[in-house]
C-alpha cells in the first residue's frame, strides 16, 4: 500500500538518498505574513525619519521599491536561505538538489513572485503550490528551488529510563531498531498504560507480560 506522505527525495551521485520535508502553503503564508509586517515597519520607519523634508515621498517610494524587490533576495542569499519570517517559522529556501540558494535562482523566484501574486493576493501561487508534490509555486518551479523545513537541532537532553542493557532475542531490522529506540526515548512522553499495551504486542517474541515486558524492551 502506498502511504500518503509529504517528502522530497534527492539522490546524490554517490547513491545516497537525502530526504527533506517540503513546506506547505500554510506555513509559507505565515512566514510571508511576518515578512510583510517587517517590510511595512521598515517603510514606515523611513517615512517617519524623512517626514520633515518636502521630498520625503520620493525617499519612501525608493525604499518601498528596494524593500519590495530585494528584501527576500538579500536575506535568502546572505542569510542561509531564510528571511526573518522563514527563520521564525523554521523553513528555508534551497536549490532543487538541497544546496544553498545563490543569487540567480533567488532573484528569479522573487521576481516571479509577481506572477504568483496574480490574479490577486497569491491565489495563483497557492493553486500552483497545491498542485505539485513539493509545494512549489511558479517562482520555485522556474528557478529550481524548493522551500523545506530546516532540521532543528534536538539538543534537548534525553532522560532514558534506568534499566540494565540486554541483547535482543532475534536479529532486528533497521526499522525495528528505530522503533525500539523511539520506544525507549519517548518513555516520559507515553503513559504507563499505553507503554504496557505497546510492549504486549511483542509478547510472542520476548514472552514477558506488562511491566516486565516494558522494561525488557527498554533494556534492548
Amino acid at each position: 500500500m502506498n502511504l500518503i506522505d509529504v517528502q522530497y527525495r534527492v539522490e546524490t551521485p554517490e547513491g545516497i538518498d537525502l530526504i527533506a520535508k517540503p513546506a506547505g502553503p500554510m506555513v509559507r503564508a505565515a512566514a510571508f505574513g511576518i515578512d510583510i509586517s517587517f517590510r511595512f515597519a521598515i517603510c514606515y520607519a523611513v517615512a517617519l525619519a524623512f517626514d520633515v523634508f518636502d521630498w520625503s515621498i520620493g525617499v519612501v517610494f525608493i525604499t518601498l521599491f528596494v524593500v519590495e524587490w530585494f528584501y527576500p533576495v538579500l536575506f535568502e542569499v546572505l542569510y542561509h536561505g531564510q528571511t526573518p519570517g522563514k527563520k521564525i517559522t523554521g523553513i528555508v529556501v534551497v536549490n532543487d538538489d538541497l544546496t544553498a540558494v545563490s543569487w540567480g535562482p533567488s532573484i528569479i523566484r522573487n521576481l516571479l513572485r509577481t506572477a504568483d501574486f496574480l490574479p490577486f493576493f497569491y491565489i495563483g501561487g497557492l493553486i500552483f503550490s497545491l498542485s505539485n508534490d513539493s509545494f512549489k509555486r511558479l517562482g520555485d518551479l522556474s528557478a529550481g528551488t524548493v522551500v523545506v523545513y530546516k532540521n532543528r537541532d534536538t539538543k534537548k537532553k534525553l532522560t532514558l529510563p534506568k534499566v540494565a542493557p540486554t541483547a535482543p532475542a532475534s536479529a532486528l531490522d533497521l526499522e525495528d531498531q528505530i522503533a525500539i529506540i523511539d520506544f525507549t526515548e519517548r518513555d516520559s512522553e507515553l503513559s504507563q498504560g499505553r507503554k504496557i499495551e505497546l510492549a504486549n504486542i511483542l509478547a510472542p517474541i520476548h514472552g514477558l507480560k506488562d511491566k516486565k515486558a516494558v522494561e525488557h524492551i527498554q533494556s534492548i
Binding site: Q7, A29, P119, F121, F135, A179, L198, I201
Partner: protein, 542 residues
C-alpha cells in the same frame, strides 16, 4: 481502530508539517470533501440569504454573520468522511449526507454559539465529534492535547479566514471590474461604504467561495489532532511492533516449511544438473591415457577460441559504443565578434573616445538647475555623485580582492607551480607501489627477466613499472604527485615532450595495467623487448 489500515505515513512531525499533510490529503480527497461541505452549505446559504433579502433587505449583512456562526455544522460531514478515509474506509457522499443529522446531533448548539469564537476550532472539533467527550473529561483532554499544536491551529484558522475573505473580495472585485458602468455603483464594494448596504455582493461571493477553503481547513486541523495522538500514543511504534510480531510469527511457523521447500528445491536442482554434467561424449569414468591427452588438446582449442572470440566481443563493444545511444550531438550557439578587420582599429579608437568623454562628463561640474526652494540640493547632488563614484571604485577594488583567486590563475599556473614543485618532497608511494630509489635492485632488466623465468610474471612487470617510474623521478627529474593515477603520470611525461621516455612509459603502463587490472598473463616477448631497450632510455649513471 486498526492502525495498519492507516493511509498516511506515521512519524514524528511538527504541527506545521501535519498541516501540510492535511493539505495533501485535502487535495487527494478534494471532490468528496468539497461536495460534503458545499451541498448543505449552499442550500442553507441560499435559504438564509433569500430570507434576509425578503425580511430585512437593509440589514443583509445579518446573513453573513448568521452563516459564519453556522459554519461548524458544515465542517462535521467532511471531518467524518476524513476520519473514515484515513483508515482506508471510503464512504460515499450519499451515505455521509444521509447521516448528516446524526453526525450533528452531538454538541452542535455549543459549537455554533459560544464555542464559535474559539480560535482552535479545527483542532478541537475532532475531540468532540470523534471522541464524543463532554464536560470535565473534554476539558482535561483538551489541556493534554493543547500542549503542542494549538498555536499552529490558531494560525491555521487565521490564514483560512483571511484567504476566504481575500478570495471573496477578489471575486467581487473581478466582477465589479467587468460590470458595465451603469451597474457599477450598485454592486461594488470598491466604491461604496459597507454601512450603505452595498456589501451584498461581497457576501454572496463569500458564500460561493467558502466551501473551496474548508476542505483544507478541516483536513489540516484533523491532521494536527491526529499528529498529536500519534505523538501521545506512539502509533508509529505500535505499527512497527505489530510488523515485528507478525514477522516473528511467520518465522517460527515458516521455518519447517522453509526447510522442506529448500530440500525440494535442492533435489530439483540436483536432478536437473546431473544430465548437463553427463553431456559431453568424451566424459567417461574409465579414461585411457590417449583420451586424456585428447581432452587437453581440446582445452587448448578452447583457449584459442576465446582469443578469437575476444575480437568478436571487442567488435561488438565498438558497435555498441557507436550506436546512437552513446552518441550525443549538441548544437551550441555562441556570441562572437564579427570578423571585420578593417573596422577594428577605428572601433577601438571610438571606444577610447567614448570612455574619455564619459570621464570628462563625470568630472565636469554639473549644470546648475534652478530648484527654487531648495538651492542646497545642488551641493548635495554633487556630493552624492562623488560618493557614488567612490563607492563604485571601492566596490571594484573589493570585488577584485575578494575573487583574486579567480584572476590569479594566469600567473599562478606558471610561477607557483614551479615553487611548489621545488618545495614538495618526492612521493615514496604511487598507487600502492613503492617508488623509492633505495629499494630497487642494481640491474633491473636482468632481475625482471629472472623473475619472469621463476614463473612470477606479475612481480616482474610490477618491478619493471616501479623501476621505470623511480628512474623517471630521480634520474630524469619528473615530478609525480601521490594523488596521480597511472594515466596522469603518463600524461605528465607526454606533455614534457620527451618522445623516447613517453613512448617507453606508455608501453610499460599498458602492460602493467593489463596485468594488474586486467589479470592477463603477459608473454615473454614484450617484456624482453622492454628490458632490451631499458639501457637506451635509462643509461647507467656510473
Amino acid at each position: 481502530m486498526q492502525l495498519d489500515k492507516l493511509c498516511i505515513n506515521t512519524k514524528k512531525r511538527s504541527p506545521w508539517e501535519a498541516i501540510d499533510l492535511g493539505c495533501k490529503l485535502a487535495i487527494n480527497w478534494f471532490k468528496p470533501l468539497f461536495l460534503l461541505y458545499a451541498i448543505p452549505f449552499y442550500i442553507t446559504a441560499s435559504i438564509v440569504s433569500i430570507l434576509c433579502y425578503w425580511l430585512i433587505p437593509e440589514y443583509f449583512w445579518v446573513s453573513f454573520i448568521g452563516m459564519w456562526f453556522l459554519k461548524p455544522i458544515f465542517d462535521r460531514a467532511p471531518l467524518y468522511f476524513a476520519s473514515r478515509a484515513l483508515f482506508s474506509e471510503y464512504l460515499s457522499v450519499k451515505t455521509v449526507l444521509s447521516n448528516l443529522v446524526k453526525i450533528n446531533r452531538f454538541d452542535a448548539i455549543k459549537w455554533i454559539t459560544w464555542r464559535r469564537l474559539s480560535p482552535t476550532r479545527c483542532f478541537d472539533l475532532p475531540i468532540t465529534v470523534l471522541e464524543g467527550l463532554t464536560g470535565s473529561d473534554r476539558s482535561k483532554r483538551l489541556s493534554i492535547m493543547h500542549v503542542r499544536g494549538s498555536g499552529e491551529a490558531i494560525m491555521l484558522s487565521l490564514i483560512c479566514f483571511l484567504s476566504e475573505i481575500l478570495l471573496a473580495g477578489g471575486l467581487d472585485a473581478l466582477i465589479s471590474l467587468l460590470l458595465p458602468e451603469s451597474l457599477y455603483d450598485k454592486y461594488s464594494i470598491l466604491t461604496s461604504d459597507i454601512a450603505g448596504g452595498h456589501f451584498n455582493f461581497f457576501i454572496l461571493s463569500y458564500f460561493f467561495l467558502a466551501p473551496l477553503v474548508s476542505p483544507f481547513f478541516v483536513c489540516s486541523g484533523f491532521m494536527i489532532y491526529i499528529n498529536r495522538r500519534v505523538q501521545l500514543e506512539a502509533w508509529d511504534i505500535d505499527i512497527q511492533f505489530q510488523k515485528m510480531a507478525k514477522k516473528d510469527k511467520y518465522r517460527s511457523t515458516g521455518n519447517l516449511s522453509l526447510t522442506l521447500a529448500s530440500l525440494l528445491l535442492g533435489c530439483a536442482l540436483f536432478s536437473s544438473s546431473t544430465p548437463t554434467l553427463a553431456e559431453p561424449d568424451s566424459f567417461d569414468i574409465h579414461l585411457s591415457v590417449e583420451e586424456f591427452s585428447e581432452i587437453e588438446l581440446e582445452d587448448e582449442v578452447v583457449v584459442e577460441d576465446l582469443s578469437s572470440k575476444r575480437q568478436i566481443y571487442q567488435q561488438a563493444i565498438i558497435e555498441i559504443y557507436e550506436s546512437p545511444d552513446f552518441r550525443q550531438t549538441k548544437e551550441v550557439t555562441k556570441w562572437r565578434w564579427k570578423q571585420s578587420s578593417q573596422n577594428s582599429d577605428s572601433w577601438s579608437d571610438g571606444l577610447l573616445q567614448k570612455i574619455r568623454d564619459f570621464f570628462q562628463k563625470l568630472f565636469e561640474s554639473s549644470p546648475k538647475v534652478d530648484i527654487g526652494e531648495a538651492p542646497d540640493l545642488n551641493i548635495i547632488a554633487v556630493l552624492v555623485k562623488y560618493l557614488l563614484i567612490g563607492a563604485l571604485i571601492t566596490a571594484v577594488v573589493y570585488l577584485l580582492n575578494r575573487y583574486k583567486e579567480n584572476f590569479a590563475f594566469l600567473t599562478r599556473h606558471i610561477q607557483w607551480k614551479r615553487k611548489f614543485r621545488a618545495q614538495q618532497p618526492k612521493p615514496e608511494i604511487l598507487f600502492g607501489l613503492d617508488v623509492t630509489k633505495e629499494n630497487l635492485p642494481e640491474d633491473i632488466p636482468q632481475e625482471v627477466l629472472a623473475l619472469y623465468d621463476q614463473n612470477k610474471p606479475r612481480q616482474a612487470v610490477s618491478l619493471l613499472y616501479r623501476a621505470c617510474l623511480t628512474k623517471l623521478m630521480h634520474q630524469k627529474g619528473f615530478h609525480f604527485y601521490e594523488s596521480q593515477t597511472e594515466g596522469e603520470c603518463l600524461q605528465t611525461v607526454t606533455r614534457s615532450g620527451n618522445q623516447k621516455e613517453s613512448d617507453y612509459l606508455k608501453k610499460i603502463t599498458q602492460l602493467w595495467q593489463s596485468v594488474a587490472y586486467g589479470h592477463t598473463l603477459p608473454n615473454r616477448s614484450p617484456i624482453e623487448e622492454l628490458c632490451l631497450s631499458w639501457q637506451g632510455v635509462f643509461p647507467n649513471e656510473n
